[in-house]
C-alpha cells in the first residue's frame, strides 16, 4: 500500500530494567489504514514496547512522534489524548458495572452528569460501523470473554482512538470469535484507523496484517512487507533466530487403559455439566479433546483432577477405581495435571518458584517427614528441574510470578513429569506460549507417550490437537459426540462435529 504520513512513529526506543535490555533502538511506524503485526517470542520486548507507547513506561532513549510531531507520553491519559487505545491481554473492566458505565468511566459528563443518551448513541454508532454490537445495560460480569474484549475495543474507539494496540487478542477467543474480531479489525483499518496486532500465531498474522515487525531480544530482528506471501517458517526463523522443525512422532504403540471414565455425569454447579461421558486413554496414547470452549471441558478436567466429584459414573486410574474424588487421591494413583490457567490453579506467584514446584507433593516422603519440610530436598529438586528443563530464572527462590509464561509452563511440566505419571491431563498446553516454548512442550508430551504414559489433551487449537493426538474426541454440550482416529480427522470435520453435527 502507499505510505501516507504515519499515524505514529517510534524512533530509537530503548528501555532497560536493571541489566535487562527490554528494548534497544527500536523503530516502528504505523500508517492510517494499516494493520501492523508485532511478532516476537515471549520476552522479546513486544509488551514493553507497547507499554512505552501507551505511557506506562518512560523510555530510556528515543522519541515518539504522533502524526509527525514529537510527543511525550507519560500516562495512559496522555496516550488516550494522543488517540492511542490499547486492548490489554487481561481486560481492565469493572465487572459489576454495565457496558455503558464501563464506557463512560473517566469521561467527564456535562456539568457533573453522565451523558447517558449520548453514550448509548455513540455505542450504537460504533456497533453499526464495525459490527461490534453490545447491549449497553448488561453488566460486564454477564459478558463472555469475547464480548468483554469487544467492549475493550469499543472503549478505545469511544475515546477517539485512531491507533489501536491489541496485545495477543486471539489467545482468549474461540475460533468463531476470532473470525468476528478479524472482520471488525479490517473494517476499522478500512476507515483509516491504524492497528498494531501482537501475536505469536503466525497463521493469524499472515491472514490479517499488512506488514510485520519482528522483535528478538529487544531489537528489530526483521521486517516483513508482505506477510500473506511469506511462509510461516520464514517468519518463525526471524522470531527464533533458527529453524523450527516440528517434533518427530514415533509409531503408536498403545498399551492397557490407564484412565477410564464410565458414564460420568455432573451437576450444573458452574458452567456446562457433563452428561454420561465415557472414554478411555491407553498407555502410550494421546487422546485429544476438541470442542468449543464451554462445552464441558472444564468439568471434565475437574473430575479427572479430582477437584469435583461426579454425580454418577465410575472412573479408574491405572486399573484402580477412584473411590474418593480429591486431588491427592487421584494423584496418588498416578495422575499428573497441567492446568489450563497457570496463574490461578497451578502456581503461587508470590512465593518462591521452588514452593510451586513441590506443591502437589509436599506431604510425600520426597519433601517432608513427620510434618517437617526437607528444605534441602525441595531446593535440590527445584534446582535439578530448572536445569533439566532449561527454565530461565535466577534460581529456585525466585518469585514464581517473575517468570515468563513459557518458563512457568516448563516448571509445571517438570513438577508433574518428575514423578512419572501414568496419566497426564493437560488443558490448553501452549496457550500464550511462543513457538520455541510450544515446541518444547510438544516434544515432552511425545517423549512421555513413547515412555508409555497416557495423555489427555484438552484444547481449542485443532491443528495442535491433530499434530499431537492419536485419537480425538469431540465434546459438545457436555457430551462426547464422537471420537476419530487422527488419521481420519481434519480441521473441517472436527469443526463440524464441534457444532454438534454427527460425525
Amino acid at each position: 500500500m502507499s505510505t501516507p504520513a504515519p499515524l505514529i512513529e517510534m524512533r530509537g526506543i530503548s528501555k532497560s530494567f536493571g541489566a535487562v535490555k527490554a528494548n534497544e533502538a527500536v523503530d516502528l511506524s504505523v500508517a492510517p489504514g494499516e494493520i501492523l503485526g508485532l511478532l516476537g517470542e515471549n520476552g522479546a520486548g513486544k509488551t514493553t514496547l507497547m507499554n512505552v507507547l501507551f505511557g506506562a513506561y518512560a523510555p530510556d532513549a528515543g522519541e515518539i512522534l504522533v502524526q509527525g510531531r514529537p510527543l511525550a507520553i507519560n500516562s495512559s491519559a496522555d496516550a488516550l489524548a494522543a488517540g492511542i487505545g490499547m486492548v490489554h491481554q487481561h481486560f481492565h473492566l469493572a465487572p459489576r458495572l454495565s457496558v455503558l458505565e464501563n464506557l463512560l468511566i473517566g469521561i467527564p459528563g456535562r456539568s457533573g452528569r453522565i451523558d447517558r443518551a449520548g453514550g448509548v448513541a455513540r455505542l450504537a454508532e460504533i456497533g453499526r460501523q464495525h459490527g461490534l454490537t453490545l447491549d449497553p445495560d448488561l453488566p460486564v460480569s454477564a459478558l463472555s470473554v469475547g464480548e468483554q474484549q469487544r467492549l475493550e475495543i469499543v472503549k478505545a474507539l469511544f475515546r477517539g482512538a485512531r491507533l489501536l494496540i491489541l496485545d495477543e487478542p486471539t489467545a482468549v477467543l474461540a475460533p468463531t470469535e476470532i473470525d468476528g474480531l478479524f472482520s471488525a479489525l479490517r473494517s476499522m483499518a478500512a476507515q483509516g484507523l491504524g492497528i498494531i496486532f501482537i501475536s505469536h500465531k503466525l497463521n493469524e498474522v499472515r491472514a490479517l496484517t499488512h506488514r510485520c515487525v519482528v522483535l528478538r531480544h529487544g531489537r528489530v530482528a526483521g521486517r516483513v512487507d508482505a506477510p500473506a506471501s511469506t511462509t510461516s517458517s520464514e517468519m518463525a526463523r526471524l522470531m527464533c533466530g533458527h529453524e523450527i522443525v516440528p517434533p518427530a512422532r514415533g509409531p503408536s504403540m498403545p498399551g492397557a487403559a490407564v484412565l477410564t471414565l464410565d458414564g460420568i455425569s455432573t451437576s450444573h454447579h458452574s458452567g456446562m455439566a457433563l452428561r454420561d461421558v465415557s472414554l478411555s486413554v491407553r498407555g502410550g496414547e494421546i487422546l485429544g479433546i476438541a470442542g468449543v470452549s464451554g462445552n464441558g471441558q472444564r468439568a471434565l478436567a475437574e473430575v479427572i483432577s479430582g477437584v469435583r466429584a461426579p454425580d454418577a459414573g465410575k472412573m479408574t486410574i491405572a486399573g484402580k477405581a477412584v473411590s474418593r474424588f480429591s486431588p491427592s487421591t487421584v494423584q496418588a494413583l498416578g495422575l499428573g495435571r497441567i492446568p489450563e490457567d497457570r496463574m490461578t490453579t497451578g502456581l503461587v506467584t508470590n512465593l518462591p518458584l521452588a514452593d510451586s514446584m513441590v506443591l502437589p507433593r509436599i506431604g510425600t516422603a520426597a519433601f517432608s517427614r513427620n510434618g517437617l519440610l526437607k528444605p534441602d530436598a525441595i531446593r535440590a529438586f527445584a534446582e535439578a528441574q530448572i536445569k533439566a528443563y532449561d527454565i530461565r530464572c535466577p534460581g529456585p527462590m525466585t518469585r514464581a510470578g517473575a517468570l515468563s509464561g513459557g518458563n512457568l509452563q516448563k516448571a509445571l511440566l517438570a513438577r508433574e513429569l518428575a514423578f512419572d505419571p501414568k496419566v497426564l491431563i493437560v488443558s490448553q498446553p501452549t496457550r500464550g506460549l511462543d513457538i520455541g516454548a510450544a515446541r518444547f512442550i510438544h516434544e515432552k508430551f511425545l517423549d512421555m507417550r513413547a515412555k508409555g504414559c497416557g495423555i489427555i489433551v484438552i484444547g481449542e487449537d485443532l491443528e495442535e490437537l491433530l499434530m499431537l493426538s492419536d485419537r480425538i474426541a469431540v465434546m459438545y454440550e457436555g457430551r462426547i459426540v464422537g471420537t476419530l482416529d487422527s488419521a481420519d480427522a481434519s480441521v473441517a470435520r472436527l469443526g463440524l462435529m464441534m457444532t454438534g453435527a454427527e460425525a
Binding site: 507519560n74 477437584v307 490461578t344 502456581l347 503461587v348 506443591l359 509436599i362
Partner: protein
C-alpha cells in the same frame, strides 16, 4: 512529575529497611503534634527513649509491655499469612485471660497451675478464633467483620463476669478474685517485673517462625494464603488449613492474656488489655508477617507506650500520642510496602 513503575524484583534488604523507614517517617510526622502541644521535639523523644530503653530497669519494663504484643503479633502474623483476617486477637486475649484466671484461682502446685493456665488460656483463645473461621469456611461470612465484632461480645461477657459472679465482694470493685500466689509467674530478675511469660514470648517467636517456614502446616498456610485455588488443586484441604490456622492464631492471642494474668495483674479487670490485640496487627504488619520480626516490632511499640507516659509527665504532651504513633506507624508501613512492588520514577512533564 513522579510516577510509580512496577518492579520486577524486590531487593532483600528491603525487609529490614522498610520497617525502619516507616518508623523514621512516623517519628518525623508525629513531631509536628509534639511541637503543637508546646514541647520540644528533641526533648520529648529523648525522654521517651530514656524512659523506655535508657537503663536496664526501663528495658525490663518495656519487655514486660512487649510480651502480650509479641503473642498477639504472632497470632496476627500467622493468621494473615493464610489470609485468615483475624482482627479478633483482642477478644481472644481476653478469653485467654478469663480462662487462665479461673484455672489459676484453683489451689494446686505452682508449676501445674501455670501449665494448666497456659493450656486453658490457649484453648479459650483458640475456641474464640474458631467462630469466625467456621463462619467463613461453612457460610462464607467475612472474617474481618465477624472476628472484629466478636471482640465486643467477649469484652462485655468479661464485664458481665466481673460485675457479676466474679465481683470482689470485699471492695465491691469490678475485678475478679486474684489467682493463687503459687500460680503467679516467677520473677526472673529481683526488683523488676520481668516474669516467665516474657521468656515464653521470646521462645514462641522462633518456634512460630519454624512452624511457618519449616513444617508442612506452615507450607500449607503460606500457599493457601497466597493462592487458595492452586492450593486446592494441589491437594491441600484449604478449609482444614484455615481452621488449623485459626486455632493456632487464637491460641497465641490467648497466651497473651495468660501472660498478663499470670505475670502482671494476677487477676482480671476491665482494662487488662489497653488494646494489645489491635496493637498486634500493627506489630505483625511492621514485621512484614515474619514471626522473627514480631519481636523487635513489639518492642518498638512497647517502648513507645512506656516512653509516652514518661514523656507526658516530663513535657506535658498527652500520652495519647502513643496511640497516634501506633496508628501512624501502621499507615507508614502500608505505604512503605508499596515500594516492594513499585518504585518511583521521575518523568518529564507532558508537552
Amino acid at each position: 512529575m513522579f510516577r510509580l513503575e512496577a518492579r520486577t524484583s524486590t531487593p532483600a534488604w528491603f525487609n529490614l529497611a522498610l520497617p525502619l523507614l516507616a518508623i523514621g517517617a512516623t517519628l518525623i510526622l508525629c513531631s509536628g503534634l509534639i511541637a503543637l502541644a508546646g514541647a520540644g521535639v528533641v526533648e520529648a523523644y529523648s525522654v521517651m527513649f530514656s524512659a523506655s530503653l535508657g537503663d536496664s530497669y526501663a528495658v525490663t519494663e518495656t519487655l514486660v509491655r512487649a510480651t502480650p504484643m509479641i503473642f498477639t503479633g504472632l497470632a496476627v502474623a500467622v493468621a494473615f499469612r493464610a489470609k485468615f483476617w483475624n482482627i479478633g486477637a483482642e477478644g481472644q486475649l481476653l478469653a485467654g485471660a478469663v480462662a487462665s484466671c479461673a484455672v489459676g484461682a484453683i489451689p494446686m502446685p505452682g508449676p501445674l497451675a501455670m501449665l494448666l493456665m497456659a493450656l486453658a488460656g490457649g484453648a479459650a483463645g483458640a475456641a474464640v478464633a474458631l467462630i469466625p473461621a467456621t463462619l467463613r469456611v461453612k457460610f462464607r461470612v467475612d472474617d474481618v467483620v465477624s472476628s472484629l465484632l466478636l471482640n465486643s461480645v467477649i469484652f462485655y461477657a468479661l464485664m458481665a463476669l466481673i460485675e457479676g459472679p466474679w465481683k470482689d465482694s470485699f471492695s465491691g470493685y469490678p475485678i475478679s478474685p486474684p489467682i493463687e500466689d503459687s500460680a503467679n509467674f516467677p520473677v526472673l530478675i529481683e526488683g523488676t517485673r520481668l516474669h516467665l511469660g516474657v521468656v515464653a514470648a521470646l521462645v514462641a517467636a522462633p518456634l512460630i517462625w519454624f512452624v511457618v517456614a519449616r513444617t508442612t502446616l506452615g507450607f500449607r498456610i503460606r500457599v493457601t494464603g497466597e493462592n487458595p485455588e492452586a492450593a486446592r488443586y494441589g491437594g491441600i484441604n484449604v478449609e482444614r488449613v484455615l481452621i488449623s490456622t485459626a486455632l493456632l492464631s487464637g491460641a497465641l492471642a490467648g497466651l497473651a492474656g495468660v501472660g498478663e494474668v499470670g505475670g502482671v495483674h494476677f487477676q482480671v479487670m476491665s482494662d487488662i488489655s489497653p488494646g494489645y490485640g489491635y496493637s498486634g496487627i500493627v506489630v505483625a504488619m511492621l514485621a512484614r508477617l515474619n514471626p522473627l520480626g514480631v519481636v523487635p516490632a513489639a518492642i518498638f511499640l512497647a517502648a513507645v507506650m512506656t516512653g509516652a507516659e514518661a514523656m507526658s509527665r516530663a513535657t506535658g504532651v498527652p500520652a495519647f500520642l502513643s496511640e497516634v504513633i501506633q496508628g501512624t506507624a501502621l499507615l507508614a508501613m502500608l505505604v512503605a510496602l508499596l515500594f516492594t512492588a513499585y518504585r518511583i520514577r521521575r518523568v518529564g512533564a507532558a508537552r
